[in-house]
Symmetry: C2
Subunit: 147 residues, 2 copies
């Protein structure tokens, strides 16, 4: 098993960052404009769609405003059954966000791509939190020939 790990600090109140991870409007503001569903109750399902495909995430854990846990229930084969864990904490002016995309079965090349892409979207989340404007798909930064 292998994990993708990331850390960003956002100059925005922790409750606002939590909202950006648990509401359709928030998620559409930094990850993908085409976000459907709900994300603020355990059992909710979120549907994230990109040009080529997407993911469905089931909310399996919430501790406002400190933790969000999703399980991938639909999407690329490599993603199914993996978990996406968000931990939030305040440090000075910053809300620190720790992301773990856990339990990849193999460290395949696609995992390398997704790791870099997660960083791009976390910078988008940071910008969304600090300025109100992120760069969600289809306006995200492209990193390679897989997009």
């Amino acid at each position: 098993m292998a994990d993708i790990l990331h850390r960003v600090g956002i100059k925005s109140p922790i409750n606002e960052v939590y909202k950006a991870l648990t509401t359709r409007e928030g998620l559409a503001g930094w990850w993908t404009s085409n976000t459907q569903g709900e994300g603020n109750k355990t059992g909710d399902v979120l549907q994230f769609r990109f040009g080529a495909g997407g993911f469905d995430m089931k909310v399996i854990g919430l501790q406002p405003p400190a933790q969000v846990l999703w399980e991938v229930i639909e999407g690329p084969e490599e993603w199914i059954g993996t978990k996406v864990s968000w931990e939030l904490k305040q440090e000075g002016d910053y809300t620190i966000v720790l992301l773990k995309h856990q339990d990849w079965r193999e460290p395949v090349e696609f995992m390398h791509h997704c790791s870099t892409k997660w960083a791009i979207f976390l910078i988008s989340l940071k910008s969304f939190g600090e300025t109100g404007k992120g760069a969600p798909d289809p306006n995200d930064v492209k990193i390679d020939n897989w997009n």
Copy 2:
């Protein structure tokens, strides 16, 4: 043991990208302006310095233009003994770069930070390869309260 993985695609010839990873001028163009030493022979040592500190890397493997392998011999305790592996290959117009920063002893919070920061510098490498201008330290994108 835990690894940081990333993938970028750079619209630049593979030999140019290899040069950006094995020459002082190249490395100073996208990672840190304060780069000393040499990186194009096995046994060479590169010294990367940032505001707060830095790393020394020993070149332990080279296969031009496809592979570069460094071992961290000086720097933050968590980095010492880890390896940084670069794999390059051509795919259409792109030179694909696979980065592995391998053998972290524990998936500590600092590893989360370094993972996101690697992505930032890979985007800088991409920009350096495609336009001749990267964003090396001290002009790098800041991601959190650790910089």
